[in-house]
Amino acid sequence: MTKLDRPVIIFIGQPNSGKSTLFNAIAGYKAQTSNFPGTTVSHTHSEVYIEGKVLRIVDLPGTYSLNPVDPAERAALAHLFQEPPDLIVNVIDASLLGRSLELTLELLELERPLVVALNMVDLAEKKGVKIEISKLASLIGVPVVATVANRGRGIKELLHLCLDCLEKGGCRPVAPRWAADVEKYIQSLVKSLPPNFCGLANPRFTAIKLIEAGDTFCHEILEEISPELKIRVEEVRRQLEALRSMPAYEVLAAERHHLALKLFEKASKVERGRRVSFEEKLDSLLMHPFIGYPILIFIFALFFFLIFIIGNPLEQLLLKPWSWLNFWIHHQPGPPVLKAILDGLSQGVGAGLAIVFPYFLPLLLLMSFLEDLGYLARAGFLLDALMHRIGLHGKSVAPFILGFGCNVPAIMGTRILESSRDRLLTSLLIPFIPCSARTAVILAIVAFFLGPWWALGYYLFHFIIVAFVGRLLASFFKEPSPGLILEIPSLKIPSIKTILTKVLWQLRSFIQFAWPVLIAGSLGLSCLQLIGLDHWINQIFKPLVKDVLGLPANLGVTLMFGFLRKELSLLMMLQALGIDYLSLPQTMTRTDLVVFTAFVSLFIPCLSTVVIIWKEISWRAALLSILLNLTTATLIGSLLRLLL
């Protein structure tokens, strides 16, 4: 069996435990990694070669407990039971040991091989928490390794320990027992389980889940499989409720909570009266009820101008050789087919290199920095009240901000939202947020020709659209949002290595997936022009492009490509008009440029976004999103034409 040759290790942990950082640090040893941007990945997996063995490691979305409350947690749980791993690695934020152990206790209840990676021990020490690793390990009965994932510390030890567990077949814990009076009822339910009952992990775990999982764990089908058991479950629930005068699930949660706190007290020392760290001081400023807002605005303004300051000179520098090359191609004798292909190739390669890269790269860097710093949650805190105006709450802020990077992961990010109404609403609004590809082109074209203030105004304009459309949508989805419960992770000064690794990944996926589409698009347009088909396409789009928006009809063909990737429309604008980048102002007026950029950046969610909305929400939502974008873009485009 191949499973034994290539054992599966699952990484599970609470959100912000540094699980993914640990995973990436390990995947650094990798030989093969699959991480497909733009496809639905509920988990990331990678293969690690260590001491001649192959380990298959899986990174699950963060989950607070094995009682899921949102789709991301449900995905993690489903994976854990559908593909039972050979070993579970529980990643813990050492600075929040008391709370994190609640999940660990649940994992111990599974009685499956388990290793604990006590991550961020440096942060814990900064907070004055000193943990005795060996003591903790002996208390919970499974091995514990201290790690600092973002500095790569403890990773080798962790992998060796995993190998050890897999080879010797150890690390199998015994479920911790609770207070005798609670335990009595659990055991009585265990005895009531039919001998062939389709349980999870072990009878005790099954009994526990029957009691606490409510409607999430086969409660409906229980009626059919075993009506007697259902009656027993309800009886035990009532008994537990009477015992502690709180809901049965809360009785069990309280048991874990007390046990976790007891373990925490025994295994660690908390130093009181320590100095307030730099991060904490910074944090109190960032979250300050008054100062927090100017800082928020400042950060976004800085973000924008930094990208522009880095991107603009770089763009000018890189554009020159491509203009020369294009000029050269156009003035060469030779068969038109060859010329068309060469022209398409140079346009596509040049667009990626000279227009997208200069802005894309700094944007990725800054995004990763904000993400790793933990600023997204803080922005969520500050903007909660504002989000209520559009019928959402602060938890949607993080997916929105992610949308500035790329809409696709942003829509996947909506999985952290508990209610499906919030998910739908947020997913419909995300395509209105200019992603990095669009931003690059906006900056390259609007800022290049009209100046940075126009670009900034243009950017702010998107916020107004999001607010307006959000307000409109909220009036249709009246059902109230469940309210904000958002963890604010401790502020972490990001490590340069982690950021660079992340950016490199994203850059690689751009080169692998997006750039080829750019080049293929340019080639496609060249070919269409060669056989004169572009003329027909332009005719089809003419009523919209020429009559409604007042733009040159030649631009119609670019809209077709814009559906693949939005920046294509803008990049191909030059090719479609048959002009050079620098001679654009002679063909397009300022109004034309603004109208076209506005229309293109709104008119339709790009193909990958449509696909991801379809997959994550529904085909209806995808269709709605397309219609919503098309209507908004047409309205805005014609409005701008009249106003400017």
Binding site: V69, A385, E418, L484, I488, P489
Partner: protein, 85 residues
């Protein structure tokens, strides 16, 4: 020793508070429990965001920081713990 039970939104800032009860449906209760907020825990209410924004709450027992919308903060009953004890 008379303790006052109030809603978290009405509780003073910067003093230790003990969670007495989480009122509200199982959805809200479970989410709070998952984040490590249990009855009996000591918490502290910190700053508020502007314009009726959320309350920042620190769980002194587990060290977690959480932003709670006003609607949620309405549903948490706390008592003020005497500083001397």
């Amino acid at each position: 020793m008379t303790q006052r039970v109030v809603r978290l939104v009405e509780a003073p800032q910067g003093v230790p508070l003990r969670i007495i009860d989480l009122v509200g449906g199982p959805g809200v209760r479970r989410r709070l429990l998952n984040l490590g907020f249990h009855p009996g825990d000591l918490i502290e209410r910190n700053s508020n965001a502007l314009f009726g924004g959320p309350v920042l709450v620190k769980n002194l027992t587990t060290g977690t920081n959480v932003a709670l919308g006003l609607g949620i903060a309405q549903k948490i009953l706390v008592e003020i713990v005497d500083d001397q004890t």
